[in-house]
Symmetry: C2
Amino acid sequence: MTAAGERPVGELVVGVLGGTGPQGRGLAVRLASVGQRVLVGSRDDARAREVAASVAGRATAAGGAQASVQGGSNADVAGAADLVVVAVPFDGHAAVLAGLAGPLAGKVVVDCVVPMGFDELGAYAVDVAEGSVAQQAAALLPDSAVVGAFHHVSAVLLEDLSRPTLDGDVLVVGDDRAATDTVQALAGQLPGMRGVYAGRLRNARQVEALTVNLVSVNRRYKAHAGIRVTDV
Amino acid sequence: MTAAGERPVGELVVGVLGGTGPQGRGLAVRLASVGQRVLVGSRDDARAREVAASVAGRATAAGGAQASVQGGSNADVAGAADLVVVAVPFDGHAAVLAGLAGPLAGKVVVDCVVPMGFDELGAYAVDVAEGSVAQQAAALLPDSAVVGAFHHVSAVLLEDLSRPTLDGDVLVVGDDRAATDTVQALAGQLPGMRGVYAGRLRNARQVEALTVNLVSVNRRYKAHAGIRVTDV
């Protein structure tokens, strides 16, 4: 259904909404370091341009070629990108996407937002009325191909370009085969990572929420945990 | 809180409720093949004894030493074992445990039951009123230390003793540190596997439900998928 499926994934311009936050910035700099053209989006477009310049500098230094990274408002990025990653805070997720159904129509939208809360016992998964954050996105973006992915990749490791190879798989969930194929290919652009198809959007909830368990793993083992799928 | 914590895990008698089903039988034969004493439980104690004899024969042939495996009713196994694995079908889970609070008091109870349904679109996660199957067990067994684990280990691979080494981690969730330590150690008895602490019981839901995604992985890739935690 999307233009994204017609070109090699490496040629797509990837927009990151919430690209100034840890997960968004980590994905932006890592993708830019391997040659992907990236647009960093934020509510605050001055902040987005500032982060984009920093990301471009780091990605260029690490990747050896001039990285293409520009910043702008979430709305501008949504309109200009071929494929859009949603990495905004969970509590702003619905509000940000509600205004972007038009610019995101016909595009692959990759949601990596985790519905997570913290209290005195640590992290916990927050219920989402639509079933999952990805399903919330799909409800708000009826003309986009929404895919859930990149929940389990540590922002700290994404940002650390001194380690050129990552260690983990990206679980990709979605109902549109062309879109999940594209997102798997995008994950595969990151050295050491694979995109693994992991089911329909109705099964996004536990993929998102597993991130809560990885927070517990990180606390217990002083790690930046991710996951690998075995026998695949 | 449990007697199980006072002895090396290899000396514990492990009871498996629902030990005649695929996951229970797989765990029973794999544990028996590495020298663990195992009790196979079933609603039908004649069937339990029959499966126990088969498991003992296979484990002995694979392990090189006489395996100790006996069968009996779920109630008898719950009473006789030091540590009990619950591997009954989800739709019988509450009914089986409701009668066993007495014999399971003071014991570590390891729940590996997955709340999963199937329809024309494939597998999906079923809501559990208590939040998760493990929390349902904890509600029914107030004097036991309930731990969630062994959801992601393929029954097919567990049963295939021609492969002595497995490839995967066991995510272990629970609120009692001694109990989760014991279950991690039990997972570590299986060559190639590790028990990895992955949070409190309130975060069991997504660990259980992730098994649904592994079913999708298996279908797409013709695999028997499991998971590894990276950076740990």
